[in-house]
Subunit: 77 residues, 2 copies
């Protein structure tokens, strides 16, 4: 089974959500990507349909936007 | 370990998110509550901090609001 990808940008909401997601799904089931630090992956996230962070892209390709965090435009800006 | 609770209101976004959550976490790890049908539980959801649906309340009591779905006011109205 392929992994989910959790995109975040290091904000407090993101970190809190990351801890919950890892605890709920297990760390082996999810890649964690900080697009605030690894900005080369912002385009990848956008291409997958990520509109705000934190967001979880599932193995099916669906994007679950979590909480009311930062928009991807804010991470870019 | 106590379970998470997934609150939703039967909307297409909710149903899609529900299927993803159950698949990712396992059906034994999460209760599903449709507050559109079981309206007596709207107050319970609000008391736990649910501001929109779909939302996942974790065993730690954190609320992960998922996607940009219906506000709880819309479910009431």
């Amino acid at each position: 089974m392929s992994k989910s990808i959790f995109y975040h940008a290091g904000c407090p909401v993101c970190v809190s959500a990351e801890q919950e997601i890892v605890q709920l799904m297990g760390s082996e089931a999810v890649y964690i990507v900080n697009i605030g630090e690894d900005r080369s992956r912002i385009n990848e996230a956008e291409g997958l349909g990520v509109k705000s962070v934190p967001a979880l892209v599932t193995p099916n390709g669906n994007v679950l936007h979590i909480n009311f965090g930062a928009s991807i435009e804010e991470v870019k800006g």
